[in-house]
């Protein structure tokens, strides 16, 4: 029997960590980190976990300590946000390239400047090419579920890559909502005992990690790293199927909401997808064939699957809660449209940058996006490909 509860996203994630009971959590326990290490450190103090909690002096050190712990052979987790993730930057690449399956919650918040602590996806979108698997979550339930699945995905022998579980700062992290928790022993059984591959604290098999890699070899190692990211696609689906058997909750590369006969659709991440669902329902009641795609897995990017899911539609709007300053749309748009070039060439695609720095996203505004799509579907004409939503013009 699932345990019904009411929790904020941060509380839910800390509880998932308690149930996973990692060997090491290294974290910077104050701003710009999150409440997650704070809640988790209470579990440590209460003796509810066996975890070694390493309180470090910066986020760079947090990721460095995680790398050291994971390299030693310990199941390692952490959490961060915003500038904290930014300070981890160079170590993110080290963690991924050394194939260290660290699992980290990223509470999505804007990057300064101007100084801002509110929600957008600038932080994790900036880290999208660091070699970490990235899962995105609509609400506290998905943050909890994805964190538990992330451990299995990261540690799978064909993957061995770190995973970021990203959810919206404040909107998800601080709002109290209903949630269904899994019993402790079931989570424990699901994640299983950690059996690290090659690791440093193994006197029977001494190894060296992180050597200098010359041009004759570096490229091959990167190619092999990319292959593990490719393998992750299969593993993510296998773990999702097993998770569905455990909980009844279904996960894939992305959620398709009322897409069956849809003519227009919005592609949007995280909590805004929930708000957009209410708009889809309203439009459907009016007879408009509107749908929604909410990507869950952004790294690896489900190129073929999402491309095919958008084929046959008349118009698609991709919404980005991050500005890439490419002047050619946000990061999600660039990738989705690239996939559409192969699989949905006849579908018109437009981009909306929205919600930066915590600008609230109203259902009325999402309706404007659908209205734009309806006009494109009717006329076949795209007036403007790159757009901003909810900005004062």
């Amino acid at each position: 029997m699932a345990i019904k509860d009411k929790l904020s996203g941060n509380e839910a994630v800390a509880i998932a960590m308690r149930q996973i009971d990692p060997d090491v959590v290294a974290a910077f326990p104050i701003t710009p980190s999150t409440e997650v290490p704070q809640y988790f450190s209470q579990f440590v103090a209460n003796g509810q976990v066996h975890t070694e909690f390493v309180a470090v002096e910066s986020e760079h050190s947090a990721m460095s300590a995680c790398i050291g712990a994971e390299a030693a052979g310990a199941r390692t987790m952490t959490a961060t946000s915003s500038q904290g993730l930014a300070l981890m930057w160079e170590m993110l690449y080290i963690a991924a390239s050394l194939h260290l399956p660290i699992v980290m919650s990223v509470i999505n918040r804007a990057l300064s400047g101007p100084i801002n602590i509110h929600n957008d996806h600038s932080d994790s979108m900036g880290a999208r090419d660091s070699g970490w698997i990235q899962l995105y979550c609509e609400d506290n339930q998905e943050a909890y579920d994805n964190l538990i699945q992330a451990v299995r995905i990261a540690e799978h022998k064909d993957v061995q890559l770190p995973v970021m579980v990203c959810f919206d700062g404040f909107i998800t992290s601080h709002a109290v909502e209903n949630i269904e928790l899994i019993e402790d022993e079931k989570v424990k059984a699901f994640v299983g005992e950690y059996k690290p591959g090659y690791h440093l604290l193994n006197k029977d098999n001494p190894i060296a990690l992180g050597p200098l890699d010359m041009p004759a070899f570096y490229f091959e190692h990167k190619r092999a790293q990319a292959e593990c990211m490719q393998n992750a696609k299969k593993v993510i689906m296998e773990v999702a199927q097993e998770f569905e058997k455990l909980t009844g909750r279904k996960y894939g590369f992305f959620e398709e909401y009322r897409m069956d006969d849809a003519e227009v659709a919005v592609v949007v991440l995280n909590s805004t997808a929930g708000t957009a669902k209410t708009v889809v329902n309203e439009l459907r009641d009016q007879g408009i064939k509107a749908g929604l795609i909410k990507p869950r897995v952004f790294r690896p990017f489900p190129f073929e699957e999402i491309g095919k899911a958008l084929s046959g539609l008349k118009a698609v709007a991709v919404m980005d809660k991050a500005e890439s300053f490419s002047t050619a749309g946000g990061p999600l748009f660039a990738e989705i449209r690239s996939a559409m070039f192969d699989y949905a060439k006849d579908t018109k695609a437009i981009n909306y940058i929205y919600g930066l720095g915590g600008r609230d996203v109203r259902a009325d505004e999402i309706k404007l996006v659908y209205q734009d799509l309806i006009d494109i579907a009717r006329t076949g004409q795209v007036k403007s490909t790159f757009n901003y939503l909810g900005i004062r013009e």
């Binding site: 602590i117 609400d139 919206d168 404040f170 909107i171 998800t172 909502e177 669902k277 329902n281 109203r362």
Partner: protein, 192 residues
């Protein structure tokens, strides 16, 4: 779609409006509802106007924006009604609950042209008499539950008592006072 009730709280930093919204969410959860309780985060300064929100529904809530067209507005500090547009977007047929010793109709002239329902409760007096200190949030919570009829009153009172036992585990002496303040506010709310 089941009917969803949306409530917006206006208070000042330190008065516990955020806590009240979370307590309301918890109590509604205990009656089997789907709930959201969340504050609007800003610079957190004692005395600065703050906003908090509740959604309560029979079905899963997916909307994640702030609340722009509330069914109810709770004003935890009377002085806010002249400095903040507390009634912005308030639905027709909705209501505002204000912490004030005055009768509802005495406040109407301050609410420029507002024609809807007004309720008041003297949360200051109740709080000071029952708790010995000014914490208006618990009386306001009692008042809004009474006004909205969101849940069975007995279940609500039980849920709050449970909540207080949990919240004040280290200072049980305040539980009784809070319970008295809650029940008194439910009795004394004016405008019903």
């Amino acid at each position: 779609m089941g009917k969803m009730v949306e409530i917006r709280w206006h208070g000042r930093g330190g008065q516990g409006a955020k806590t009240a919204s979370l307590l309301l969410a918890e109590a509604a959860f205990d009656t089997g509802k789907f709930i959201q309780g969340f504050p609007e985060y800003g610079p957190e300064r004692m005395g600065a106007p703050i906003t908090a929100y509740n959604r309560i529904s029979d079905e899963k809530i997916t909307i994640h924006s702030n609340i722009y067209e509330p069914d109810y507005v709770v004003v935890v500090d009377e002085t806010l009604i002249t400095s903040v547009d507390v009634l912005a977007g308030l639905k027709e047929g909705g209501a505002v609950v204000i912490n004030s010793p005055k009768d509802p109709e005495e406040l109407r002239p301050l609410l420029k042209g507002y024609e809807g329902k007004i309720y008041t409760v003297d949360a200051r007096t109740i709080s000071v008499e029952e708790l010995g200190r000014y914490f208006p949030n618990v009386p306001m919570l009692g008042a809004i539950v009474k006004v909205t009829n969101l849940m069975d009153e007995d279940i609500f009172v039980d849920a709050m008592e449970k909540s207080f036992h949990h919240k004040f585990a280290t200072k049980p002496q305040v539980i009784e006072g809070n319970m008295r303040a809650l029940k008194r506010a439910m009795q004394e709310v004016k405008g019903l």
